[in-house]
Symmetry: C2
Subunit: 522 residues, 2 copies
């Protein structure tokens, strides 16, 4: 009740706050204009922050993966708990790449090492293998006072940065300098830190960042929050979501009329689109970025998630280096996370960025900028350490580790195939093969009556469909409009993460819903 | 060598990039102007990011606690490892409130619960008491898939938010709503998130935030990064670093000529100044903030660290609520962390904010803004859970827990007294009592010859002194200029965290250095 009263007052006040839009600078939405409340004695308020006087960029930003549909899904879960009757018994959260939440079991070796790091008495436990103890001992030796409870350097624990560099070197066959490794809380932490370097108008123009459409909403949300210009380039659905250079060119040329485009984000393997880029396509993108002087954000967090026959992961760094000069001198950044792959340790928040060929002064500024956040969580650092320094052949944990890792990846591969195949059997659906990552992004046609009904409900047609699906089946997906899609087309993202039996069940439920939905709106 | 060449090229390029300062808006330093490199074919560079074309706010920001002195301290540590001879054998890091790094031992109960959460086989360990297992079971029951590896809600795991609210209610005797609790990575995460709400010019003026001088550099760094105006108010050193309302008024009146002052930061107990505010002083501050329509950031992370006889911690929420209307309706935020207190789990990154009386739409915007960071690390959340839900009388872990907690706090109290007393015995030093927190901030006089030598070396006198101390003794402190101080006065911050024997040794070394320093520059 108190909250409601307060809410009413806020809106009332909002209406009474005078606003002026005369002061538009850099065509930025992030300027507010209001009369200081303290001068308006008639409506003296106890509140300093009102919707009309907070940062408009934050009001603008959206993060669809956790948007209104998810909020409704949480509410439905509560209703189910309270015994409200629904046509289903549980919400299936296919909206977010949250592996453990969908029943994936943690990798034993990772948890052994983390357990040792936080609870040192485990070193006395004879059931924990010696290689796990060695890993934990190495990590703790890199911590001040030998405790994960001490701050690390802002860029992370040195020995872990070394291990990351060695991992990259093994992966690419190309040297990696540990001083170019910046550990962070998930990949998101370092992505935001590097985007922040670009956060300033240039010659009166907002800085622009090219992002794929559809894209992972971390980028759109951060770009909006940072008052930057999101410069979308469409992925080519007809070419399995590949990047078409003509489209990149169109996008940058149009955008440069109003903004200072300075960077391009490429997500490979793709989120939400599940494609794995060919080496040739990566070469073209690098040439384009060089020509247009764009800093490359290579989001490579799904590098372990490659399923399709003939698909292979090539890192941007490897391709760019092997292309030789001038490309091999380009500055760029690559991102990795322990939230995806076969480990799926999302909540632990571990990740790293490798910054390549970065101007030393810029790197110094970057390192300084992250220092006020003190350090990424040490347990996240420990987790990424295990990922980049897993058991080696001959070590006691090797066999179990490989069995678990391959088990997860094989099962994901089967689910990737199952999802694409099943969706392609639905009326009006077409779904590209899920070559990698953890998502399918099918396109679906909607009858005009459904589109009209959506309009009437004040929703986009894909949101309308997704809400109907949720209310009728408990399946929570993310409408394509949260990621971006070509106008007039409708998509959604679903993860492939429910365990196989659950996934079959989900797809059957989905099909049943779809048939009914079409019947209703035909 | 490659790095050096690259560095030279960057500087060279920088000189060739045309800059214009004509485009000054909101007297903001965060505007850049440069000619796109791609149009300057003569000096075509492979680098997109150069010092001259990155976000100037990041170049401006400083974070003294991890500044040049600390960088030098790290280098000295490396030299010592490599066998370079120094007049000392180790660096004593008195620069940062990093308890475990200085030998403080983790609290057993905390680590038992964290161990159970990450390594579930520990539930079978009969040496771990049942109350630790209960806590861990509760936490895991709040995690999707019962794993810390799943994402939590962006505001944190619900059951932990409930526990935080119950803790606050026990502490203050005033209701607390769990939906007002936002878990974050340390306190820093939520402080930055709420500051970001204010990040936008108002009627052409930069938003201003009042911070104490001296202050904790998280604030100055974030305010600079966010292109906001830092509005300093001096703490009254003669009144044990209390807040003087006349000084607050002077500060806001002056600042409002050029900026839109919207918030005030109060750190209680004080960092770096160690004071504990009286209830009367807090009441005055609240009245002032109400009158000036300022959002209060109550940084209360040291609430467990109260040492001086007669000092008591009062939360801003408690005082404001008990003052009645209109004050009890003010919106404000209070911050807590698991990095300080008796636990000192800095690297784990756990913390929370309680937002009080916040306009619901503003709270919704805040929650949305943190959603793109996915979630704070779940292990940090688990850690703050133990802090707010410790063993109760009668539970098996209660005695050991209280013994360890009181042991740490008692020892800190003794060290607080030792540090202030010892510094007050130094020639030219005066040090207020360390009533709380983990720091002393003594003032010291420097002979003119030392001030001249500093000038010659291009350093502030306090930095010069701190560098000399570091090079001669290995003791690493932070010069007062990193926190702010009245012009013409010199201070430094030292932690009281070295273990008692080490602290005695450090103070003896310090005294010896100081005597020599005075002799040299007299």
């Amino acid at each position: 009740m108190a909250a409601r009263l307060s809410s009413i007052r806020c809106s009332w006040l909002s209406r009474h706050l005078s606003r002026s839009s005369s002061q538009s600078v850099f065509n930025s939405p992030c300027i507010i204009s209001y009369n200081s409340l303290r001068n308006m004695s008639a409506i003296k308020s106890s509140k300093c922050l009102e919707l009309d006087n907070i940062n408009p960029c934050i009001k603008t930003m959206e993060y669809a993966v956790r948007g209104p549909l998810v909020i409704r899904a949480v509410a439905i879960e509560k209703e189910l708990e309270q015994g409200v009757k629904k046509p289903f018994n549980e919400v299936i959260r296919a909206n977010i790449g949250d592996c453990h939440a969908m029943g994936q079991v943690p990798i034993t070796f990772i948890r052994q090492v983390l357990g040792l790091c936080v609870y040192e008495k485990l070193f006395d436990d004879p059931t924990i293998p010696s290689d796990a103890k060695e890993r934990a001992r190495d990590i703790l030796s890199g911590c001040k006072g030998s405790s994960l409870g001490s701050y690390s350097d802002s860029a992370g624990i040195e020995i872990i940065r070394h291990h990351c560099a060695e991992y990259i070197q093994r992966r690419d066959g190309i040297p990696s300098d540990w001083q170019n490794i910046i550990l962070s809380s998930g990949a998101s932490g370092s992505i935001k830190a590097i985007l922040a370097l670009l956060r300033c108008p240039v010659n009166g123009k907002r800085p622009g960042v090219m992002v794929p459409i559809p894209q992972y909403p971390l980028y759109s949300a951060t770009i909006a929050e940072f008052d930057m210009e999101q410069v979308g380039y469409y992925l080519d659905e007809s070419k399995n979501w590949g990047l078409d250079i003509k489209e990149l060119q169109r996008s940058v040329d149009e955008a440069r009329k109003i903004s200072a485009v300075r960077a391009i984000v490429v997500i490979n393997p793709g989120n939400p689109t599940g494609q794995v880029l060919s080496r040739e396509n990566i070469e073209e993108i690098i040439k384009f970025a060089y020509k247009e002087n764009l800093f490359i954000f290579a989001d490579e967090v799904y590098q372990d998630n490659i399923y399709a026959a003939g698909s292979k992961f090539y890192s941007f760094k490897k391709v760019l280096t092997e292309m030789g000069e001038p490309y091999s001198k380009m500055d760029m950044a690559s991102f990795m996370s322990c939230s995806k792959g076969y480990m799926g340790e999302c909540g632990i928040r571990g990740g790293y960025a490798e910054v390549i060929n970065m101007c030393p002064e810029v790197k110094a500024a970057l390192l300084k900028s992250i220092s006020a956040q003190l350090c990424p969580t040490t347990i996240g650092q420990a987790c990424i350490d295990v990922v980049v320094n897993p058991p080696k052949p001959g070590e006691p944990s090797y066999e179990l580790f490989m069995k678990e890792k391959n088990g997860v990846l094989q099962s994901l591969k089967e689910r990737a195939e199952m999802v694409a195949k099943t969706f392609n059997s639905f009326e009006g659906f077409s779904c590209n093969p899920v070559q990698g990552a953890m998502y399918a992004f099918p396109q679906f046609k909607l009858p005009q009556k459904a589109i009209d009904a959506a309009k009437k409900a004040g929703q986009t047609p894909d949101s309308f469909y997704a809400f109907q699906l949720l209310e009728n089946t408990g399946i929570c997906i993310v409408p394509g409009s949260g990621f971006g899609q070509r106008p007039g087309t409708y998509h959604f993202r679903t993860t492939i993460l429910p365990q196989p039996e659950k996934l079959k069940e989900m797809l059957a439920l989905f099909q049943e819903f779809h048939v009914k939905f079409l019947a209703q709106y035909k």
